[in-house]
């Protein structure tokens, strides 16, 4: 082995080991924004989570948003209202206040500040959560619900697909040309 090669080879091997270490370390770490447990649910069926269960029962679309009898907003995109019910079946309140819609890598936050659902023990609350989405990027829309925590650990997040497959997305876009009036929230005791 020439003197140059005898010096170069150990350096290259060391660099390769450092590269390997870096790759291994990166793979072993879960990014903070992805560090949660996904609980998959089905549209129309209740999904059990820590302090209760959540059900998504209806999806409505429109381009004009009407609230309390007045036109509140218009969009070039699509307003999507999702009817969801949260029931606090356990001894603690159900807190699923953070809601967003996912479509591939795109995330849509709620139109209002608190888009999710909360309920006190023994009660269930039904709300219509509104999202404004891009009609070109609404394939396979999935609702993600989690809790809004100042201190946070490894939490549960519910994901429910709204059934907007690429084949049916065009129908939804066509159906969106109208007024959308979300219902006001209602709370009642769990039957």
């Amino acid at each position: 082995m020439t003197p140059l090669r005898s010096k170069l080879v150990p350096i290259l091997v060391a660099i390769a080991l450092v590269g390997l270490s870096a790759a291994g370390l990166r793979l072993s770490k879960v990014p903070e924004e992805a560090n949660f447990e996904v609980v998959n649910g089905v549209f129309g069926n209740p999904v059990k989570i820590n302090n209760g269960e959540v059900t998504v029962s209806q999806v409505k679309v429109g381009t004009v948003l009407k609230q309390f009898g007045e036109i509140k907003d218009r969009t070039d995109g699509v307003f999507v209202a999702i009817t969801m019910t949260g029931a606090a079946t356990g001894p603690k309140p159900l807190e699923m206040a953070a809601a967003r819609l996912l479509s591939g890598d795109v995330r849509y936050e709620g139109y209002q500040l608190s888009a999710g659902v909360t309920a006190q023990p023994g009660f269930q609350t039904t709300v219509d959560s509104v999202f404004e989405v891009d009609p070109a990027q609404m394939d396979d829309l999935t609702l993600e619900l989690g809790s809004n925590e100042i201190l946070h650990g490894y939490q549960q997040r519910v994901r429910i697909s709204l059934g907007l497959r690429p084949a049916s997305a065009e129908q939804w876009r066509a159906a969106a040309r109208g007024v959308l009036e979300p219902a006001t929230s209602s709370t009642r005791a769990i039957p």
């Binding site: 660099i15 270490s21 870096a22 072993s28 302090n51 650990g153 490894y154 549960q156």
Partner: protein, 460 residues
Amino acid sequence: MLWTDLRILIVDTGRVWWRLLPMIMGVYLLGWLGSELTLRVAVIAGDLSPWLALVLFAFNFVCVLAAAIVILSLAGRELGIRELLPADEREIDDRDTSLSRLVAITLLPFLAMYAAFGQVAEAANRLVTQQWVRYGFLSDQQTVLGALYDLATRHLAWLVALLAGIYLLRRLLDFVAERTGLRILDLLAVLVESFFMLLVIVGGIRVLQTFHAWMEGRALMQWLAEIKAAVAGFLAIFAIDLPEILTRVASFFSEQVWPVLVDVVAQPMLWLAVAALVFGSRVLSLAELWRKGQPYAARIPGATAFARYREKKAFRRLGLPPRGIRLAAARFQEAFFGDIDDKYLPALHALRLVFRAGPLFLGSYIFVYTLVIIAQNYIDRGVNWLLGGHEAMFWVRWEPVFALLQDALTEPIRLCLLAVAFRRCLELFAQRAAAQAEQVARPVTTPVARRALADAEARS
């Protein structure tokens, strides 16, 4: 050679860990218990005063770091690191005979490492979290964070004066400890230093934020923005989108290069350098001489890089000692450099030494060290997978237990690895020194070399 290094690092670490398991686990658990107790006491003491909580919390680091130092020392003894020294070089250092002395003189560099890699900030966050849980987010009770925020934003001069006062107090304690030889003063100095670092890290962030907000309102920032826009406008002529390029370069550096440099390269290297301090300055000095191929030399105090600043000054000083103002200046310089000498210089010299162990060894060491950290990450993921998602309060309540589970399995292994890696460094230096000595002593045998020697002799 690569396999030799990897095999030694993995097998010997496993062996030392297994042989010392009951002992190191006992020490580790004691350290953990002490740290958790001080955290709980500090949180309760916060009811009386946030400052009292911060002072008591300083004990937390002493518990954790003292346990780490003792484990390293035990592993070093098991590996016979001191026995690698030739008999006539094996001078007894007081850190070998007294555990309290060892802890007292090595805690400061360890604490500096903890601070550098964000572990002090992480511990401070735990204290803040526990206080939030105790008082609630909207409580009137002043927390540590609130008290420091108040001091940093409204009474900045007081904060600076407090920091200067604490620094002077620590130097005074160092001075008295050196004069009297009282070890309790060394430990007290470490406590004061822990408090100082907590204050700098938690309070310093607020000062930086205040300074940043103040800077944002200055005309200078507007000028800089205009210069940036002008340069970007000029480069746009050549179809170069400067802001976009700068953003991409910055994000590549911060997201790809920097984490690799800090987590993969700097952390293992610096920890090895700091761990080396536990094994004694005599070991380090000799390792340096081995590295240079001078195994038996320089026994004069102050001759090696690992000597104290004062000894080095005495070694280099020529003529009469200074008087008057010069004497005062020399004393001040000594006090200031003495602090750096205690905290950072030995670790920096040890780092310089470790770097000379060769790329193959360093690559192997980094690889094995990272394997331990990867194992730690997977234990964390395993705990999450096993328990599933829960509310934040669940994790706050059980965090000490899960952290113990994660760290008790990997931290002693990491410490054993540091000891094994340092012993391997010493072996490599000794081998190289022996090879160099042999090369010098060997007669010239090859025809080319014989001819060159004959030519040189003829010329002379």
